[in-house]
């Protein structure tokens, strides 16, 4: 067992709202090692996205109060928020939920990707940064990468934009990706391609992934471990097969029962391993 990339212990997040203080995350603990995908699954309002944003230090200081610890390697970013600048983008990057609004509409793909590359390696010349950008787009299987650099976000489909955003996230050469519902704005056939890409990147680079999703199908596919979240707490945690095939908590069973089943089809005949 390698040392954890991320170690979260007893994380609490209180959000200050007009209606009073809400404890959105109420004492959750989990860790992610190299090559692992850990998924937090829950319905709206469960606190799953707040957990991800707290880990990344993206909650506004004046509206969110954090306690507990969030350690990247040895650095606790709850105790020392300034350390976040060293960590964010270099150790950990975010893949956002809606690729259609995450990029600036007035700058080219090349400029936005180039910016991310040079944040990590300011010493690169413009030409070298561009070469690196093409390399990154190749890595995420964007066809005709060099051509795409001159295009604007509105000229690309949602699936292509999500690939570009994954390339931007990878520009800092992070060891951990936080993916906040990365495919819920996409069509199912496009979703399949993005999830396949994440699995492939993990296989080839050993990158750790914190996946946030409401979709049990997505969670079952990509995860090593699953934490089922409800009202700010983990109601069930475990290895993916155990949680999906033998859920021990009533809420997990309800969630699974609520997913409409598709039933068998002719490709099942080939057996489980397709």
């Amino acid at each position: 067992m390698t040392a954890a990339l991320l170690d979260v212990e007893d994380l609490q997040v209180e959000l200050i709202t007009a209606g009073g203080v809400i404890r959105a995350v109420d004492g959750v603990s989990f860790s992610i090692a190299e090559g692992e995908t850990v998924t937090v699954i829950g319905e709206s309002g469960s606190g799953k996205s707040t957990t991800a944003m707290a880990v990344l230090g993206l909650l506004p200081d004046d509206l969110a109060v954090l306690s507990g610890s969030v350690r990247f390697g040895g650095t606790d970013v709850v105790a020392d928020p300034r350390a976040l600048h060293e960590v964010r983008g270099r150790t950990v990057s975010l893949i956002p939920q809606d690729p259609m609004t995450a990029l600036s509409p007035v700058h080219t793909i090349g400029r936005q990707l180039g910016e991310a590359v040079r944040l990590r390696k300011p010493e690169l010349t413009k030409r070298a940064a561009e070469a690196r950008a093409v390399e990154l787009l190749d890595l995420v299987h964007v066809p005709r990468a060099a051509e795409q650099l001159g295009r604007y976000p509105h000229q690309l489909s949602g699936g292509m934009l999500q690939r570009v955003l994954i390339a931007i996230a990878l520009a800092g050469e992070p060891r951990l990706l936080v993916a906040d519902e990365p495919t819920s704005a996409l069509d199912v056939t496009v979703q399949a391609g993005i999830l396949a890409l994440l699995l492939e990147l993990q296989e080839s680079t050993g990158i750790g992934i914190l996946m946030i999703t409401h979709d049990l199908g997505v969670a079952r596919l990509v995860s090593d471990r699953i934490h089922v979240m409800r009202d700010g707490r983990f109601v069930e945690s475990g290895e993916v097969e155990a949680v999906v095939d033998h859920p021990s908590h009533e809420y997990t069973r309800e969630l699974l029962a609520a997913v409409p089943v598709l039933g068998p089809w002719d490709e099942d005949v080939a057996g489980g391993e397709r």
């Binding site: 199912v188 391609g193 199908g217 079952r220 596919l221 089943v261 598709l262 490709e267």
Partner: protein, 275 residues
């Protein structure tokens, strides 16, 4: 089999765009039988919501026929259409945008009753209260406004409003796609109940094959404005004939059908073509 309540023939819908027109629905035909549910499934841009809008005549088709119980409503003027509008009602996708925020739940459901000619305000209120009860909301909901309800509750109000017109055909355009799965399951159960009790005919527009299998007897699979495949839902999902239907079926991730750790074979990489 009973006679069709809705018979759509050669439907074409074109939108005007700069420098020409875009054909969103391209010679689509299907029928829906009384008391049955037909699902129209496809991905974004396939034309499924445009078909819904055409059937409820929120837009006028470019050509083709929409026979409602034998009457072609495709080309009817607004004046001729109005008496027929109560017979076909729609439940919208976004429960947050489709209810008037100023009205109480009771007023929202009572409004179509007034249009239907229920003169007495007391009768309207009583019938609205009955409908709100029918969709599973407590009587305390009557005086509350949309902002005070959750997404699932709002969708129930939207269903009650649609039912207030006593429609023969209910068109649900992605009516559960903004909801959590547990809430979605409850709303689907409500639709099934209503159909069993009242013999309502339904068209369900969805991108979710699981929802389609749960709720529909027949399915039309669409891509780029055209019908790719159609037939009884159970048959189409168990043995899809067309490559596109197979791709959709393969991409629908069923958690309980997967085996092994991170089974990448379930999402065999498919290259997309940039727009």
């Amino acid at each position: 089999m009973t006679e069709p309540l809705l018979d759509v023939r050669d439907l074409v819908v074109e939108y005007h765009v700069r420098g020409g027109s875009f054909r969103a629905v391209d010679h689509v035909s299907f029928t829906v039988h009384k008391g049955r549910t037909l699902a129209i499934v496809g991905e974004s841009g396939c034309g499924k919501s445009t078909i819904a809008s055409a059937i409820v005549r929120l837009l006028k088709p470019s050509s083709g026929q929409i026979l409602l119980d034998g009457t072609d409503i495709a080309g009817l003027s607004e004046r001729r259409m109005r008496p027929l509008r109560s017979r076909v009602q729609m439940v919208f996708q976004d429960p947050y945008a489709s209810l008037d925020p100023h009205l109480t739940a009771q007023d929202i459901v009572a409004e179509p009753l007034r249009l239907r000619g229920v003169r007495s305000s007391a009768d309207r209120r009583a019938q609205a209260a009955e409908l709100i009860d029918r969709v599973g909301l407590p009587s305390s909901a009557l005086e509350r406004r949309p902002a005070e309800f959750s997404g699932g509750q709002r969708q129930r109000i939207g269903i009650a409003r649609a039912l207030a017109s006593s429609p023969e055909l209910l068109v649900c355009d992605e009516a559960t796609s903004a909801l959590d799965v547990s809430v979605q399951a409850q709303v689907l159960a409500l639709l099934e109940d209503l159909q069993r009790d009242t013999g309502l005919t339904c068209i369900v527009i969805s991108h979710n094959l699981g929802v389609v299998r749960r709720i529909s007897a027949d399915v039309v699979v669409m891509k780029a404005g055209r019908v790719v495949e159609s037939g009884p839902t159970a048959d189409v999902l168990a043995a899809p004939k067309e490559p596109y239907t197979r791709a959709l079926r393969r991409a629908a991730l069923d958690p309980t059908a997967m085996t092994g750790r991170k089974p990448r074979s379930f999402v065999t990489a498919r290259e997309e073509v940039p727009a």
